[in-house]
Amino acid sequence: MSVPRFWRELDTRYNLIGSYCKITKTYHYPRRSFNPEAGRESIGSMEDYQFKGSGEIVSSTVVHQAQTGYEMFGPYCMAIIELDEGPRITTQIVDCDPEIVKPGMKVKSVFRKLGEDSESGILHYGTKFIVIEYNEVEESEENIPDIEV
């Protein structure tokens, strides 16, 4: 991907910046200058909004035949998640066994590498999601031996 094509979306990708429509009081991701539901009146009424990054799984799948650039992850989990504010995102779910991911599980955003143009090309970073419940269990298990020692 060309550098500007990625660069112009950096804050949207890095910081989950989307839009808030002051007319319909709804949130949108990625950023839009126009809310399709409110029509032309929404132009000028869309404010930047940084999503909290928490949400839940709507649907998920374990990808065995990986997308180009994701071969090293396979098998990996892809999901459509719904942010607490409403918008949905298609994202990779990382840091867990992909098979455990199920609809309804709570997730939160993490900053991760998305890919690279080539060995000497620029790296692309962005947002992926982790399952919160799973990580809480993992952390508490790790904490137990520490206390006993």
Binding site: M1, E9, P30, V58, S59, S60, T61, V62, V63, H64, Q65, A66, Q67, T68, G69, Y70, F73, Y76, M78, A79, I80, R88, I89, T90, T91, Q92, P103, L114, G115, G126
Partner: protein, 388 residues
């Protein structure tokens, strides 16, 4: 508005056609359709080409002029237009020609679709197919085209209790039909067990749930009905046409287990001819994945929402059943060459309505439908055809 008829058809075998180029495939089907129609190149007013991916697979754009040239129409300086809407390119090309004739601008158009998917590696052709979804916010995020349909399937299974066995029944039935179609890429039967045990592509979808990325071409000749008799004794009328679009990204839809663009395109096509789902004798459905056939049947209204899968398992959509679906073998078994698919579907329904489908002939077929969609049904095109 004038009535429009199909007076000629042509199709190549679908598959891995390494010895044939895009232009050769286009020429072969174009010539077949023209000779079937009994017209000469002088009779053709315009050419419409359905092609999704020549730019990314062959580094060749401007496919309209390419096809006009290699079909020997360049010396006539014929108007040639390429139409692109991912896998709906073919169906949409048919609709453009239909509207031009119905509107009285031209009398005769050749509509051809051609695609070469095997001149590139499997991973490149898979990426090309996923360009029908949102490249920036789906594909680049790691979602394959199969994984988006896997999430659609998972949602449908959760909501309606659709089972693995029912998904497999779609593929088994389409292969059964293809076993009677020598133009099919996979003209042989496979068992439902083989589908259920095939390799996982993106859970719950397995390899035999997914249509292949094929080479192939198909062409039809459209003519104003009032002039059709001059060329062909028996022509097939296009009585209904509908088109609709939806959000490009799957995640922007309210329900993941529905495809409203198909519903709207079908509704518009039904409205244009005053027919309803129960009037149809057969349908060619865009089964790029088994789950798509199930949902499309629900959107068109052949079965109630959540009831299509069990009816497919019961055999209602098999040849000899209540309403045969994909007698060609569908995308799964006839093959899926994106730009050609929507036209190949029309070719099948025309053969059925002419009573020329041989072993796979649907008895007393009078009215047939063609449903073609692109991406995760961000574009849907539906046509209704009637025999004489």
């Amino acid at each position: 508005m004038r009535e429009v008829s199909i007076i000629g058809i042509g199709i190549t075998k679908f598959g891995e056609l390494w010895e044939k180029s895009l232009r050769q495939l286009g020429l072969e089907t174009g010539l077949a359709a023209i000779s079937d129609a009994g017209i000469t190149s002088k009779d053709i007013d315009a050419l419409y080409i359905g092609n999704m991916a020549a730019g990314s697979t062959l580094q060749q754009e401007h496919v309209s002029a390419l096809m006009a040239d290699y079909c020997g129409l360049a010396s006539q300086n014929i108007p040639a237009t390429r139409v692109e809407a991912a896998s709906a390119s073919g169906g949409l090309a048919v609709r453009q020609a239909y509207m031009a004739i119905a509107g009285g601008f031209i009398d005769i158009a050749v509509v051809g679709g051609a695609e070469k998917m095997t001149d590139v590696s499997d991973s490149e052709s898979s990426y090309t197919v996923s360009m029908g979804s949102d490249e920036q916010w789906e594909s680049k995020a790691g979602a394959t085209f199969a994984s988006l349909h896997a999430m659609i399937a998972q949602s449908h299974m959760t909501e309606y209790g659709t089972t693995r066995e029912e998904l497999s029944a779609v593929s088994e039935k389409n292969h059964f039909h293809a076993s009677m179609n020598q133009m099919a890429q996979f003209p042989f039967q496979i068992s439902a067990e083989a589908v259920s045990n095939s390799g996982m592509v993106s859970s719950p979808l397995r390899m035999l749930d997914c249509a292949p990325n094929s080479d192939g071409a198909a062409a039809i000749v459209l003519c104003a009905t009032e002039k059709a008799k001059k060329y062909k004794k028996k022509s097939i009328k296009i009585i209904g046409s509908g088109q609709a679009s939806d959000t490009l990204s799957l995640h922007h839809r309210k329900y993941l287990n529905q495809m409203p663009a198909i519903k709207m395109a079908a509704r518009r096509a039904f409205k244009s001819c005053g027919k309803k789902a129960s009037d149809l004798d057969l349908i060619e459905i865009h089964d790029n994945f088994t789950i798509s056939e199930i949902i499309a049947l629900e959107e068109i209204g052949v079965f109630k929402r959540g009831k299509a899968a069990q009816n497919i398992l019961k055999g209602e959509t098999r040849l000899g059943g209540k309403i045969p679906i994909n007698t060609s073998g569908g995308l799964k078994a006839r093959g899926h060459a994106p730009g050609a698919t929507g036209i190949a579907q029309v070719v099948e329904v025309v053969q059925q309505l002419r009573g020329e489908a041989g072993e796979r002939q649907v008895k007393n077929a009078k009215i047939g439908m063609v449903e073609n969609h692109g991406g995760t049904a961000a574009t849907a095109v539906v046509h209704i055809l009637e025999g004489e």
